[in-house]
Amino acid sequence: MKTKKLSKIEFKHQRVLIVWAAIICLYGFIFYYVPLVGWLMAFQNYKPVLGVFKSEFIGLDKFKFLFEDESFIRVIRNTFAMGIINLVCTFVMAILFAILLNEIKTKGSKKVVQTISYLPHFLSWIIVTGILHDALSGSGIINELLMNFHIISKPIDFFAHEGYFWPIVAFANVWKETGWNAIIYLAAITSIDPSLYEAAAIDGAGRWAKIKHVTLPGIKPTIMILLLMNVGNILNAGFEIQYLLGNGLVQKVSQTIDIYVLKWGISQADYSLGTAAGIFKSVVSIGLILVFNNIAKRHGEERLF
């Protein structure tokens, strides 16, 4: 009896919270949940005039088409390949950069290098790809350097050969995000107990030994968590740069699932096929996230005991 009365007062008191929560969740429902209804389109021969509720259902035909389409299989391969290459390269570089930056003991120069390292993160992909085009063009700095050192005799057209595309994308990602990604590792390194370094020094450990036996084990939990979190996002890592850098000559290796969706769904206005490809991506993504979150959890438990 008493609790009921109390909760009534509480309810009155919380009315303002409830009203705001309702407004905000209504917004969230419209912009994040309603689009899920659109998934029905993938199982329909969707006609804009008829809408989602009246279009004819055709079962899994669109998915059948997808998996019989050679270019879709290639697009899946490209997305995974670039996702994994980018993940590995950006991870290794960020960790390496954080560790080496931490070894700089002059505070001023450390600060300057770190500030500069953030810069590319704040540039849009439009600007980054523009810069890349300049640097890698026939008269660009890379070709000039290579020719000056007599490594090549005539300029390489980097954007005309399929073999260069994935490395260029990986390099661009490393260039853009190394400093930014290193922030979290630097924070983790700062939280390592300084007495561990002192103890290592007493045991006669040099710089390398300290990095290997103190720093790396110290940031290992951070590395594992970020790695597992990012593996789930592999498929989301491929749109802007591939779209902006790709061209007809390299499209076999440059196109990703997102570009495929854009090409079929928007340019060709085959909404059903675009949605089907999008669903495939979403489902695989969620699957990856669940699997790796599970592994992360188990990993965490193992660390506890």
Partner: protein, 299 residues
Amino acid sequence: MEQKRRRKKISGADLAFRICNGIFMIAFVIVTLYPVLNTLAISFNEGTDALRGGIYLWPRVFTLKNYTTVLQKDNLITGAYITVLRTIIGTLLALVTNAILAFIVSRKNFIFAKSVSLFWVITMYVNGGLIPTFLLYKSLGLTNSFAVYVIPGMISAFNMLVIRTYMRGIPDSLEESAQLDGAGYTTIFLKIISPLCKPVYATVALFVAVFQWNSWFDAMLYNRMSTQYTTLQYELMKLLSSVSNQSSSAEAMKNSEGSITPTSIRAAATIVTMLPIVCIYPFLQKYFVTGLTLGGVKE
């Protein structure tokens, strides 16, 4: 004697390490800065002269003409205006709504706190994808409008979680004593919690502002036909693709506009587009460092 030799040996290795590390850092800085400084040099160099190549960090034939041309292009001016507008309005809207939501879900007594939290966390992992979203915006009348820049992405679970984590760190006693004084939740939010949250508000504002400033895809997808809503990045993208497709048409442009080439125009436009962010970010470092560490703690 033995002791001394060992110390000397260590400091020798130490010296080698320091030198290698120094070289690595210098190389890193060069690779990061050179492309930007090179673009800057080209933007101040006379257009036709720049085509000869050989410009590295300093312009050879100095001119401001690239900039005066860029700043007179109508589409770039419209783009700049819309970009500034969407950055300001978008940031304000996102900040207010995310703060309110974070406040709601961080109230320990609120009966729906957990369910509202979950409702938003789900949106981080499940979304309809490009096509259903596109059709939704179209049916809501958001295409060919300014609203499409600032309304759809307004509340994001990530930003909400960053603010929520920060709010949870504020002692409950503050809220409790205010409640004893008869303050409602609105007063608590405005007068007690928000003033303490200034650092995390700054962090989220920075994230949203950078996102807004650098967006181009929404302009291309939803407002392709409405040139009055074009953005700076999208105009820059059009400049870029026109250059890479027809770099040989430099001559044609030269005749009509003197010594201006697409490359030099593009360099100037690139610098104009990146300038505001490049000038501001060094002073806001502590904010995004906090933001990233808060965002890392999701649960």
